[in-house]
Symmetry: C2
């Protein structure tokens, strides 16, 4: 068997998220269909293992997955073969033959997510699926100050959705960048951490938007983290603004 | 009765074009529903008259329409009332009370269309509905030289789709701008004319792409215009790249 790591982008608008669900169009299902077609439909079917799930409507610029296949193809042939089968809202950017101990989920060191907030007066019809919309003025200095309190290892119980099945809510956030994109009239948040809980980024973004628009005091992150109580952070920002930017595997051990 | 002119944007991806068709979601139908809701569903229904049709998948940045309604609302109230009813893929940018002799179609002096061509190696999942994809190198100098031959009054019989019901194929093109957008890795065409025939822009763009990629000689526009034969210009560029940018009414006579 040959193990391939694939790096791919998708527009999440028309997917019911990453994970396979019966009768739903999901990223995992579409990828699995393509891989099994290339492998000439073996029994049992070849599974495709992603670095993690994304929800319905969430996008990816460089999601990662792996699979094992009984045929050897050059990296470029594998990439082309997959792209020739896949629909246009998913694009394989890279395919790499890797060691059999590479695992898309377990080998991941950290992940970076982006969240785009459009600041136009109205919802832009061309951005409705690609940003969140928040028309009120945002004070970036306040949000950056508040975001510093998320950095480091914390119990994020107050910032996880109720559906989470994680054993522990302790995660480490390494970096949060908040920038204004004047050309696009957006505020853009970049988060890097060793992993994020279910809806964690979207709850943190909604919380920072409340601080940036002065609906919450700037030091409220500390208080709410300490409370370990989901009801303290009430809002979840919409899926449309969220992008998985990259998955970092440290020193990848690649062959081929 | 009060006549309102509305200026609006729409993402054409999920519309079966502008014109009302049975059992289809069209821009005209969605607007008509909103206007008749505001007018409390009068009999007969109030029609909405657009400046012209756009095909399925074609976008608009500033399309124009008018309608007559028995109630007076301020321009701002009309805009807000419509936006509160309309779906998010259509946005009213402006509503203006106008004289009753204003007509969205007949009063139009000229129109500007844009066509966006993505030059990436692969179809970008986030641009698949918003650009055409053409990966081969394009010589802008050749395309600009060729485009000059479209300028002026011509019989565009060679550049009209077979479904056209126009009485005359004579139109005047005032201006064609062709630019490279380096940031987006696109080539962008802007066309201004006194009106365009069915699929005319998309056929002209496909023709210019053939010239820019050296599949046709630069002086072929002249020859094919003179031939007045649709079979000479074989290709039609896809709807996804086309945007109605603006409709110019000269000196608008507005009241309110």
């Amino acid at each position: 068997m040959y193990r391939y790591k694939i790096t791919f982008a998708y527009d999440g608008s028309n997917f019911s998220g990453f994970q396979i669900q019966p009768h739903k169009r999901t990223v995992e299902q579409v990828l699995k269909n393509a891989v099994n077609k290339i492998a000439k439909h073996p029994t049992p079917e070849i599974p495709v293992i992603g670095s993690g799930r994304t929800d319905a409507g969430v996008h990816a610029l460089n999601q990662v997955a792996h699979f094992d296949i009984p045929y050897h193809l050059s990296n470029e042939s594998m990439r082309k073969a997959l792209n020739s089968i896949l629909p246009l809202d998913i694009l394989i950017k890279k395919a790499e033959l890797v060691d059999s101990d590479f695992h898309a989920r377990y080998s991941a060191h950290n992940k970076t997510y982006r969240y785009r907030v459009d600041q136009g007066e109205f919802v832009n019809p061309f951005k409705r699926n690609y940003t969140a919309h928040f028309k009120y003025p945002l004070d970036l200095t306040l949000m950056r100050k508040a975001a510093k309190n998320f950095i480091g290892e914390h119990d994020f119980t107050s910032f996880v959705a109720s559906g989470s099945q994680a054993k522990s809510n302790v995660r480490t956030v390494y970096k949060i960048d908040i920038k204004r994109d004047k050309l696009r009239n957006e505020v853009v948040f970049d988060f890097t951490g060793n992993g994020f809980l279910y809806n964690q980024i979207r709850i943190m973004v909604a919380f920072l938007l409340e601080i940036g628009s002065k609906q919450r005091p700037v030091d409220d992150v500390k208080r709410v983290l300490a409370a370990k109580d989901r009801t303290q952070a009430r809002m979840t920002a919409p899926a449309s603004g969220l992008y998985l930017v990259s998955v970092d595997y440290g020193n990848d051990r690649e062959s081929d």
